[in-house]
């Protein structure tokens, strides 16, 4: 079985001379909730549209469930539920008719599936309303219901919480977590609301100006973002040895340019500076860092993805 359910290899999407996506290598593993982070115009929707088959790559390759090629991708898409950009409906059809229409299209004759989807996404009371009368939040829910038809193994959702009210956002978050944990559905969702993504995602991809600048797991990101003391030293290797000897329980990581970060330090900062000075290691800089996901993203953008 392929490790990645969604994978892009050096994907380029060009509109004339403008590169909307520039050699993107995305990797979504089975069971993950993958948060695709990027500003407006970063290329998130473009990437998801390529996955959905709404547009075509200029260069590179898309693999879904390890398969590639036009026919194979079409077949693989049957196992994926997509909600990309604004969900599309026939304005004069009712919510129930719309779901029935898409159930027929997916070859699901069981009308109970429609009820199930209506209840799951919380739009049961709107079943007889025409789609054109729905609020933005209700349209999002209907879009999710359509994506959920046929019990997909993967959900691809573009800005799914747009237009939802605070309680809707909370419900939606619970729904995603429930689908992921109970039904083992892999979820790829894009958003520029980082706090919301932070609450559900297990993996992150940072997209900036069409370039996927980093993919990082939630755990690794947490480590990176958690409180740490950053010390710039004259001899970082020697200091690391001293750390191992004196404070073996501490977690630290060495970075380029004689930089060492001690994560969640268990002692006051002075203890670490004393350790250096007592062993003839000069400290040229020292600071305490606390990074939010927003800060991390901004920093990443500034550095252009260089770690």
């Amino acid at each position: 079985m392929n490790e990645y359910v969604i994978e892009t290899k050096q994907v380029v999407k060009a509109y004339g001379s403008f590169l909307a996506l520039n050699h993107v290598n995305l990797h979504v593993k089975r069971g993950e909730i993958y948060g695709l982070i990027g500003d407006n115009g970063a290329g998130k929707s473009t990437l998801l549209k390529l996955l959905a088959g709404h547009s075509y790559v200029t260069e590179g390759e898309i693999r879904l469930f390890g398969t590639y090629g036009a026919k194979e991708l079409e077949n693989s898409r049957k196992k994926i539920g997509f909600m990309v950009e604004q969900p599309g409906f026939f304005p004069n059809m009712t919510v129930e008719q719309t779901l029935t229409y898409y159930c027929i299209q997916k070859g699901i004759p069981d009308s109970r599936k429609v009820d199930e989807m209506l209840q799951l996404t919380g739009i049961d009371e709107k079943r007889r309303s025409r789609c054109k009368t729905l609020s933005l939040g209700q349209k999002q829910r209907l879009g999710l219901a359509i994506a959920m038809i046929g019990e997909p193994q993967v959900l691809v959702l573009d800005e799914p919480i747009n237009g939802l009210d605070p309680s809707g956002i909370l419900e939606f978050r619970h729904l995603l977590q429930c689908l992921n944990e109970e039904k083992n559905i892999t979820i790829l969702l894009s958003s520029h609301i980082l706090n919301e993504l932070q609450q559900v995602a297990t993996m992150y991809g940072f997209l900036n100006k069409g370039i996927l600048i980093e993919e990082v797991s939630a755990r690794a990101l947490q480590e990176k973002c958690s409180d740490c003391i950053e010390i710039i030293l004259s001899d970082v290797e020697k200091y690391a040895v001293l750390m191992e000897k004196n404070f073996p329980a501490e977690t630290y990581k060495i970075f380029p340019e004689n930089n060492i970060r001690i994560y969640k330090p268990q002692r006051p900062a002075e203890v670490y500076s004393k350790l250096a000075s007592e062993n003839d290691i000069y400290i040229t800089g020292m600071k305490t860092i606390q990074t939010s996901l927003e800060d991390y993203y901004m920093e990443l953008k500034k550095r252009g993805g260089v770690q």
């Binding site: 959905a52 229409y101 299209q105």
Partner: protein, 257 residues
Amino acid sequence: MMNYIKSEFYRIFHGREIYRFIITLALLAFSFNAVLAWFRRMDDFPYGITSHSYSNLVASPLIFGLMGAIVGMILYEGNRRNGNLKNTVAFGISRTKIFISECIVTTIISLISMVIILAVYIGSAVMLLEQAGPVELNDLLTEVPAVFLIAVACLISGIVCIEAFGKSSTGIIIWTVIWFIFPKIFFYLGLRVDVLYDIAMWMPSNFFGMSGMTVNMSQCITAWETVGGMIKCLISGALGTIVSLAAGILLLRKREL
């Protein structure tokens, strides 16, 4: 593809558009014959006969094509704007299959519409008007198979135009140019270049209009009354259908949504 066709029938029969279209045209057809009958009762009105009523359709065969294109446009005009196609493509159905399914669905719906509207038209003519004149029911009934493939070509090209171009109005203008302006251009160029004239005379609006088809109150000579004429209608329609289908597949298969 079968699932997509089934879902489209579900959508069409649960919508109002096609019912409105059929009811409106059936009412117009009935009203037209009713007005003719009413005028005939008031004075010595010469047009209150079945021949005149039938001649409206027999003299303008492309009206069937126009109606087919309108049905296609009614059914698929909002497809791109509403974003429904995005869901269908994301379900893993190829654009080519979607397009071919749309053509099949529109052809069947157009056929059903035509049968109902023609039944009302002929029925009301027979009931309300005097059966007289050179144009007979047979001329109208033989017109249906003669123009069937041409109408299919018209409706397929209608779907292509409405879906391939961003604005519906642009699609309608291009469809009109293809079916009415291009043949005229070819015809006039054909007056100078023989090859172009031969091509022009395979175009329906030219061979219906300029190949000696005469339908009026004194005579009825149709393009399809001879075996040769009927075959020409069928070949022209088949070519038009193939060209429209090929153009649709080429234009729509790589279209960005």
